[in-house]
């Protein structure tokens, strides 16, 4: 009988990512309802010392798979390692983060373990003894409640949605042999390109800070660059700004430029003509900063600030820095 709520913790460069704590805290909550233990799988090379941190958020047991073959992350290796320990222990629920890595791994595991997976969940609960996962579908135009018949019931959780709650447990560390041979892997990470500035295309960016006619000139974009750096985003521009020669053509967002759909679009000094809206209105969240209270962009914005962008943007940058620190 499958038992226990498990998570796959995520670490990068020897540090646990915040999603791991969100997973641990959520798993704890679920486990408390079913009266189960929370176990975490921690994979990597030389990462055993991280296990204790997970205990702080309610993890009872940490299965550590430590091997050079597990660093850096490669789907095959991690999927094999997780599948091995999961098959040995038969948990009822397995949670992963819906991060880039977590999504990749979760889907492979669903195949390997021949079970169901609910991706990118915004809520998970126990109903009738089973995991009920709530997740957005159709780009958030509706939500689905997902129930998986087989075990483990896998769900990946959307980052930054689930609260982190401390619940200290003396996490028991169980080392296991991931049984992964680096030489056998078909995929190899050749290079990790850290500095992606200028490499990430606007259309791929999760956050875009965009400036229009209100930027007054090319110099104005410095503050947008700073904010974009803080948010790991890109800088975009309206057609007016590109026409004026303030920004290169490749930065243009709109009907005749690029059509983007980031999670967050911050429009600074952009009035919001339809040709611009056509390029960004599918962004998940829109912030508008503009002096003109009647600018049409405010009708599309989730959050609007009617004020001088040259005063607001630097403050927003430092506020975000504080929150992300």
């Amino acid at each position: 009988m499958a038992k226990g709520v498990w998570i796959v913790a995520e670490q990068r460069d020897g540090a646990l990512r915040k999603i791991s704590f969100e997973l641990a805290s959520t798993a704890r909550k679920l486990a408390d309802q079913t009266g189960d233990e929370v176990s975490a799988i921690l994979l990597g090379s030389g990462i055993e010392s991280l296990a204790a941190q997970l205990g702080k958020y309610g993890v009872d047991k940490v299965y550590v798979g430590d091997s050079p073959a597990l660093e850096p992350y490669v789907t095959e290796a991690h999927a094999a390692a997780v599948a091995k320990i999961v098959k040995e222990n038969d948990p009822a629920i397995l949670l992963l983060g819906a991060s880039v890595q977590g999504k990749d791994l979760a889907a492979r595991l669903a195949g390997k373990l021949a079970t169901g997976l609910a991706t990118d969940c915004t809520d998970v609960k126990i109903a009738d003894g089973k995991l009920l996962a709530v997740r957005p579908m159709y780009a958030g135009k509706c939500f689905g409640e997902i129930v998986t018949g087989s075990n483990p019931q896998i769900a990946s959780l959307r980052p930054n949605v689930f609260p982190v709650a401390e619940n200290a447990k003396a996490a028991q560390v169980v080392k296991f042999d991931p049984a992964v041979d680096a030489a056998q892997l078909k995929s190899k990470v050749l290079e990790v390109q850290k500095d992606t500035s200028g490499k990430v295309d606007l259309t791929e960016a999760n956050v875009i800070v965009s400036g229009g006619r209100g930027m007054k000139g090319p110099e104005g974009y410095a503050i947008l660059e700073e904010l974009a750096d803080t948010l790991h985003g890109c800088v975009g521009a309206s057609r007016a700004a590109v026409d004026a020669g303030w920004r290169p053509q490749k930065d243009q967002v709109g009907q005749t430029g690029k059509v983007v759909s980031p999670n967050l679009y911050i429009a600074c000094g952009i009035s919001g003509a339809i040709q611009h809206l056509a390029g960004m209105s599918s962004s998940k969240y829109i912030v508008a900063i503009n002096k003109d209270a009647e600018a049409p962009i405010f009708a599309k914005a989730d959050y609007g600030v009617v004020d001088d962008l040259f005063k607001v943007v630097p403050e927003l940058n430092s506020a975000c820095k504080k929150l992300l620190a």
Partner: protein, 718 residues
């Protein structure tokens, strides 16, 4: 030295072939030779015209065509519109015309009426008047030639070239000098004859008379010898002229009037729909073979006058497109290809006579299919092809009735339909039209939302209305355009007009797809709209967008969509005239009106918007320099609205500058594309504090004293 007996008064007239009696047979021989060369040249050309291009009938409605030929070919109505070149050409044309008639009179008398009826009519006062007239028109030609030389080689207007470089050819000079020389030698012959025969009445031949005075002292023998010499020179030049016609720009004496005769009698700007999508392998014009023969013949009638170029917004804003260059480039390409085509055609005809097998013709067809497209890309640069706004200036002002725009659209069709090789932003626009029936790709289910809370019924709710208000994409989706729709709907409501909308059943009119070369998409959109409209039995339609107006009016009939279509300015003008709406409120400031191409040049709606504005009390109106049929495009037509403008200056900014130049506070428009473009221009020129662009309907609503309800902006919600 023999001195001619002075002819007494009362013998007014002159001896034809004076001092040249014996030359007649030689002259006849040379004339025959010149005529042979002329006829051969025309025949050769005729074979060339037949060699390439698809069939097309341009000789129906002969009455109308003769009228067009008379107006534009003979009276030169279009040529006169430009004073200097108009007068210049008129002097040469009518001068030459009269001189040729004069020569015919002379010949008629000498060869027909005198020998047959012993009747000499070039005598007495008639002769004096005739002589005087010939002098005047001879002088006209000479003045015209001098004006032409002066213009072509001294003032060098840009339109006689391309981007500042004149496109003069040796032929241009030869033709002008030839005509000039014919006239000058004619005068000299006359002067020498007058000098020698010395009739006092020849003072009526005032030019010859005046020159003859300059010969004073010359002995008569020399004079007669000189006369013989110049007589021959004159005759040879004149015959050379005839012989030269088919081999020079003089050919336009035949081709241009022919082109007027064969002009399109269809509504301005309407395009021929593609009928076969299923079996054709190529769409639009990739090669000359894809044009009709008439489309190629256009190039033969082009005189490189540059009227088209002079008002072309693409050319004037620094883009590579010049309508003249397009026509000339097609001609150059045609001339290179046509000799082989003439041979091929002759061969094919011979084969057909001999009864060629199907296999052979199929083989010939296959070899045609394999030909790589040369027109768009090689002959016509793609930047040129896509710079056209379809504004119709070139066609409106072409003094040879050349149809530039359909050719451009045909070549675009090739790029879009056959090759699918065109600007990515236009691809996005087309995908949006395909998926959501609007160019921005906004959810189709939101189309009718603008009318919520206005009490406007859809035809689904009540089909028994007089008018369908076809709102169009801008009026339905663009926040700026929606305000115009609301304003116009309120005007209709105030006037008690019975109307309804289609709501979400409405679709994009497809104008941008059609003009951007995506005929397939256009037809799909048109057919969808027609199905809905015919389903409700729609008879009368009003649009606020001239693009929809034009498409519905001129192109939808091809797809069983036959309606009476009105533009909202027509309706509003009518409501004002009938007193259905009153305009009590006077409006401050200086107004100008920007003519939409698709309203003005395409549909000749020039007066309605102006009448509306003039009915508003207190309204000060000023015209921009370029207005009415010479209006300057806003830059958005021909699918340009959806494309980047990365060459030269922005057309909308140039148009805005023209409005700024007349100190307008309000630029009235009657088209949502123009509204967007001019509004953007005002922003670009940082004139938002001083200037605004409004649709005529919005202005009328203000004058009616009905305030538009401003959307509530809640300045603080947290």
């Amino acid at each position: 030295m023999e001195h001619a007996k002075p002819l007494a008064v009362g013998n007014e007239g002159r001896e034809v072939f004076w001092n040249a009696q014996s030359f007649e047979p030689v002259l006849f021989l040379l004339t025959a030779l010149a005529m042979a060369v002329f006829i051969y040249g025309v025949y050769q050309r005729w074979q060339m015209w037949r060699a390439l291009g698809k069939p097309e009938i341009r000789w129906d409605n002969v009455g109308e065509r003769i009228k067009a030929l008379f107006l534009n070919g003979f009276l030169q109505v279009k040529t006169w519109k430009d004073p200097y070149p108009g007068i210049m050409h008129g002097l040469i044309f009518f001068g030459f015309f009269v001189l040729i008639f004069g020569a015919a009179f002379d010949a008629g008398e000498f060869h027909i009426t005198e020998p047959l009826f012993n009747w000499s009519f070039l005598r007495g006062d008639f002769y004096l008047g005739f002589s005087f007239l010939m002098e005047v028109f001879g002088l006209f030609v000479l003045i015209g030639i001098i004006m032409a030389l002066f213009r072509r080689y001294v003032t060098k207007p840009d339109r006689l070239g391309y981007k500042g470089t004149p496109d003069n050819t040796a032929d241009d000079a030869i033709v002008l000098l030839l005509i000039g020389a014919i006239i000058v030698t004619g005068f000299i012959i006359e002067a020498l004859r007058i000098y020698v025969t010395n009739p006092s009445w020849e003072v009526w031949s005032f030019v010859g008379w005046w020159i003859s005075r300059g010969f004073a002292g010359l002995d008569y023998a020399t004079a007669k010898m000189l006369h013989k010499l110049s007589w021959w020179l004159h005759a040879i030049l004149a015959l050379a002229f005839i012989a030269y016609i088919p081999y020079s720009r003089l050919l336009h004496m035949i081709t241009t009037p022919a082109n007027h005769f064969m002009m399109s009698l269809k509504p301005a700007g309407s395009l021929e729909p593609i009928r076969d999508f299923e079996t054709a392998v190529s769409f639009g014009a990739g090669n000359l073979e894809d044009f009709t023969w008439k489309q190629i013949f256009d190039s033969e009638s082009c005189t490189r006058c540059g009227r088209c170029q002079e008002g072309c917004p693409a050319y004037l804003s620094g883009k590579p497109l010049s309508p003249k260059k397009v026509i000339q480039d097609i001609k150059t390409h045609w001339l290179a290809r046509v000799p082989a085509a003439v041979k091929a055609k002759a061969l094919a005809e011979a084969r057909a006579k001999a009864g060629a097998t199907d296999a052979q013709s199929a083989e010939a067809a296959a070899s045609q299919e394999a030909a790589a497209a040369e027109l768009p890309g090689k002959v016509i640069d793609l930047h040129e092809l896509w710079a056209c706004t379809n504004c119709m200036y070139c066609m409106e002002h072409c003094s040879a009735s050349i149809e530039h725009v359909p050719k451009i659209v045909n070549m675009r069709q090739y790029k879009v339909l056959t090759e699918a090789d065109f600007a990515p932003e236009l691809q996005l626009t087309y995908r949006n039209m395909e998926n959501n029936s609007n160019p921005w790709g906004i959810g189709a289910h939101l189309r009718g939302d603008w009318a919520k809370d206005l009490g406007i019924k859809t035809l689904a709710e009540d089909p028994n209305v007089e008018y369908l208000f076809y709102v169009g994409c801008s009026g339905s989706f663009d926040d700026r355009g929606k305000k115009v729709s609301v304003a116009f709907a309120k005007i209709l409501q105030a006037a008690g007009v019975s109307f309804g909308i289609l709501g979400n059943e409405e679709g994009c009119c497809g104008d941008s797809a059609m003009r951007g070369g995506n005929e397939y998409l256009f037809q799909a959109l048109a057919q969808a709209n027609v199905a809905v409209m015919n389903g409700y039995g729609v008879k009368k339609i009003i649009t606020t967008c001239p693009h929809g107006y034009n498409a519905l009016k001129k192109d939808y009939p091809n797809f069983d969509g036959k309606y009476e279509v009105f533009h909202h300015t027509e309706i509003i003008a009518d409501l004002i005239a009938k007193g259905k709406i009153t305009l009590p409120k006077s409006l401050e400031g200086q107004f100008t009106y920007h003519d939409s191409c698709f309203l003005g040049r395409y549909n000749e709606i020039y007066s309605e918007p102006r009448k509306i504005l003039s009915a508003i009390p207190g309204l000060k109106f000023v015209e921009m320099e370029r207005n009415l049929d010479k209006s300057f495009c806003c830059g958005a037509g021909g699918a340009r609205m959806w494309m980047e403008e990365d060459q030269g200056e922005r057309i909308n900014d140039m148009r805005t500058d023209q409005a700024i130049a007349v100190k307008a506070d309000t630029v009235a428009v009657a088209c949502p594309f123009c509204l967007t473009m001019i509004s953007d221009g005002i922003k670009d020129r940082q004139m938002t504090e001083k200037m605004v662009s409004l649709d005529v309907a919005e202005i009328v609503l203000k004058a009616m004293g009905i305030e538009e309800t401003k959307p509530q902006v809640d300045v603080c919600t947290t």
